[in-house]
């Protein structure tokens, strides 16, 4: 079957993978990009041609979120692969990586295959499973990386928890080399973090909440960096939240150790002060830190010490968050606010320019996890995000396409919004004229 060609006309095309930043056209034929650059003039194709007017918009390689929790299987009441993929598309993501802390744990090829199939059935954003490092994420026996990669896994992680022991991490880094996948670690030294529910500091002291010190993250970060040095494996550090972690990653990169790292939009924009009055929508792990940490993370994402932005999208049921702070689960939804939070807190104040934003949200994630996309190069799969860099909107979680409503940005006025998301040459999301989002998948 032939699909009509798609012409994205007159947008500002930003593709850091080729150093493009120009107003022009993008042409998509047979699911591939056949042109990205100067204006094409009149285009005719026998199979038909659809034109999307991109005037005033930025056209970039599709955003990729390497860290989200889609909750399926196990907690389909709070998110499914399909609803997560729909929320991703609405946020401008053409692909996401699903963390394996599902129930049962995604720790074998059958489980990985299930997620791949659910994603195919949804037909929205692509979903790449990440398999568990250890069977049942128990931190004991290594899971079957090879079979999981064969079924479609793009990395391994015990996320939700750290890779339990240094020995297991060492083995995982070594073993993962065969398959060329990163080992993504949730850095948390559990004996220090035990029972903590927010950053340890003056706010936790005042609120009487047990704190999680920065060192709980940093001790694990340096453990992992040193083991990557020892093994030559690729360690990817998830959701970095402290200035100290940034300094350790910088130290590792200066020594050509294979360490990559991600930061979440909330750690780039909010501080521990958001916990004031025990707002459980400001509870996540790692916790929101101090203004000094936020400044260090912003600088690190600018200078590339931190490679990419990932959401750690973690939907929870309303009832689960509607409770005493210490008992509420960690995590917030992020897919539908990530772009706007980064634009509002990093691009608008002049910390990031647009090409760097596109790099951190598309090019770098593709490179770090070795995924298709991340480029508008001719012949590349046509995963494309079109976004309005100046659209202002007010966050209303009740209108999210995710099942999750747990967002600390409720009521916040943000800048920047995806207007059209294209996966494999097919429009999977388009904002309608009134700015209301709808999925057309």
């Amino acid at each position: 079957m032939t699909t009509p060609a798609l012409l994205l006309k007159g947008g500002r095309i930003i593709d850091p993978s080729q150093g493009i930043d120009d107003v022009g056209d993008v042409l998509i034929e047979n699911e591939k990009i056949t042109h990205a650059g100067e204006a094409l003039g009149e285009v005719r194709r026998d199979g038909g041609l659809e034109v999307i007017d991109c005037t005033g918009q930025i056209v970039s390689p599709g955003f990729i979120d390497v860290h989200c929790h889609l909750r399926e299987p196990g907690r389909e009441d709070v998110e499914t692969v399909a609803t997560g993929a729909r929320a991703a598309a609405a946020g401008g993501f053409t692909a996401v990586c699903a963390m394996p802390n599902t129930d049962p744990v995604t720790d074998n090829q059958a489980a990985v295959g299930f997620i791949v199939r659910q994603a195919q059935r949804a037909g929205l954003a692509r979903v790449y499973p990440i398999g568990a490092v250890s069977v049942g994420q128990k931190g004991e026996a290594l899971a079957e990386f090879g079979e999981m990669v064969g079924a479609g896994a793009v990395g391994v992680s015990d996320d939700g928890k750290p890779v339990k022991t240094a020995q297991l991490m060492r083995t995982a880094l070594e073993y993962a080399r065969t398959f060329g996948i990163p080992v993504a670690d949730h850095c948390e030294e559990m004996t220090l973090a035990q029972g903590g529910s927010m950053n340890e500091g003056i706010v936790s002291a005042r609120l009487g909440l047990k704190g999680i010190p920065s060192e709980a993250e940093e001790i694990m970060a340096i453990r992992d960096i040193l083991l990557a040095r020892r093994t030559g494996g690729h360690v990817h550090l998830c959701h970095m939240s402290t200035r100290g972690s940034v300094e350790l990653i910088r130290w590792g990169k200066e020594r050509n150790i294979r360490v990559t790292a991600e930061v979440c939009p909330h750690h780039l924009s909010l501080t521990e002060d958001a916990v004031e009055w025990y707002d459980t929508n400001a509870k996540m792990n790692p916790p929101l830190r101090t203004a000094d940490d936020v400044a260090a993370l912003q600088e690190a994402v600018r200078d590339g010490t931190i490679d990419l932005v990932a959401t750690d999208h973690a939907p929870h049921h309303y009832d689960e968050k509607e409770r005493e702070f210490a008992d509420a689960p960690n995590g917030i939804v992020g897919l539908e606010t990530a772009l706007a939070v980064v634009v509002t807190h990093l691009v608008v104040p002049g910390i990031l320019d647009w090409p760097t934003l596109v790099d951190r949200m598309s090019v770098a994630p593709a490179k770090v996890f070795n995924l298709p996309g991340g480029s508008l190069r001719r012949g590349t799969v046509a995963d494309i995000t079109i976004f309005d860099p100046s659209a202002q909107w007010t966050v209303d979680p009740d209108r999210f396409l995710s099942k999750g409503r747990n967002s600390p940005y409720r009521g916040k006025r943000l800048t920047g919004r995806a207007t059209c998301t294209i996966v494999g040459g097919r429009v999977v999301f388009k904002a309608d004229g009134g700015g209301r989002m709808s999925d057309v998948g």
Partner: protein
């Protein structure tokens, strides 16, 4: 009902002004006398329904609230966590909403989670009084400590009070700290660093590592209860060593340059944080604290029910 003085709730002393705290203490003053009468009852809260919602075991605080409520003629119900729907897995918010549906006026809540009182206050229309939430605040204890200090020392501006012991896990310490600072006292803490908040240096208090130094400095010591589970939690090696290094003993007090008021929020571990001859000694005001507790709670109930401080005398009827 919303109090023109306190607003809807009493959740902590951190959010109160010095004026509000002083008003509560002043309101408690005339109410003290009610408990000295043969017939200890005035009609100030007649017809009001109050639920004492205790998710943690408590004897002293619950009884003190209950006496305060009854002496003001309120109708009260005690709900303990065990033997209620709470033990069947009902959430805090459902419990509260069910109580509210029975048209109650006030909830006094004791809960093991920091922030639980605010959580409740934000979700129900009734007045909420925090009777201790986790390791956050215990405002009526803070207020009764302030009243006891004021009875003995007068104006607290510039007076030196040291909170001794497990400040990290103590809601009493936090309420005292804010209350004392707001009234202009100088505040210090003394205890092993493993039982002080890591950020104590940012809390505007002096820190003594040795109890001897605290005793030399202070005019009053508020000695916090050392919970026995702190030893199992690995915060300190043993109760024996704690007593030897941090215990407030007669010997240590004898070397003080002045008489020192001795306070303790109870229940005491005699021979651990405080020696018996100190607890029972001439400068101990520990039982005055208990007596003042009833007056303070009467004052808070009276104010939150819409009473005016200047009418407290008349309200005794």
């Amino acid at each position: 009902m919303t109090s023109p003085v306190l607003g809807k709730d009493l959740l902590g002393l951190e959010e109160l002004s010095a004026e509000q705290i002083t008003l509560i203490l002043d309101t408690a003053e005339p109410l003290k006398e009610i408990s000295e009468r043969t017939i200890k009852k005035v009609p100030a809260l007649r017809g009001m329904t109050i639920v004492n919602l205790f998710f943690e075991p408590s004897t002293r605080t619950r009884i003190s609230f209950e006496f305060a409520e009854k002496r003001l003629s309120a109708d009260t119900v005690n709900v303990a966590a065990s033997g209620s729907s709470v033990s069947k897995g009902e959430t805090l918010v459902d419990t509260a909403r069910n109580l509210e549906a029975m048209r109650i006026d006030m909830v006094v809540i004791r809960h093991g989670a920091s922030g639980a009182a605010r959580f409740l206050a934000d979700r129900i229309k009734s007045n909420v009084i925090n009777a201790g939430d986790g390791t956050h605040e215990h405002p009526t204890q803070g207020l009764l400590d302030l009243l006891t200090l004021r009875d003995r020392l007068g104006d607290l501006r510039g007076r030196r009070v040291c909170l001794c012991g497990d400040v990290l896990h103590s809601r009493v310490a936090r309420s005292n700290l804010w209350g004392l600072k707001k009234l202009g006292a100088e505040v210090a803490v003394c205890g092993p660093r493993s039982l002080l908040p890591n950020a104590i240096d940012q809390m505007g208090v002096q820190v003594f590592d040795r109890i001897e130094a605290a005793i030399e400095w202070a005019e009053a010591l508020n000695i916090l209860r050392l919970q026995l589970e702190r030893m199992q939690g690995g915060y300190i090696p043993s109760l024996r060593e704690y007593n030897r290094v941090f215990g407030v003993t007669r010997e240590r007090l004898d070397r003080a340059p002045r008489d020192i008021l001795i306070m303790h929020p109870g229940p005491m571990n005699r021979g651990v944080e405080i020696d018996s001859d100190v607890a029972d000694g001439p400068h101990s005001v520990i039982l005055d604290q208990v007596t003042n507790g009833v007056a303070i709670r009467m004052a808070v109930l009276y104010l939150l029910a819409g009473g005016l401080p200047e009418l407290a005398e008349a309200a005794k009827g």
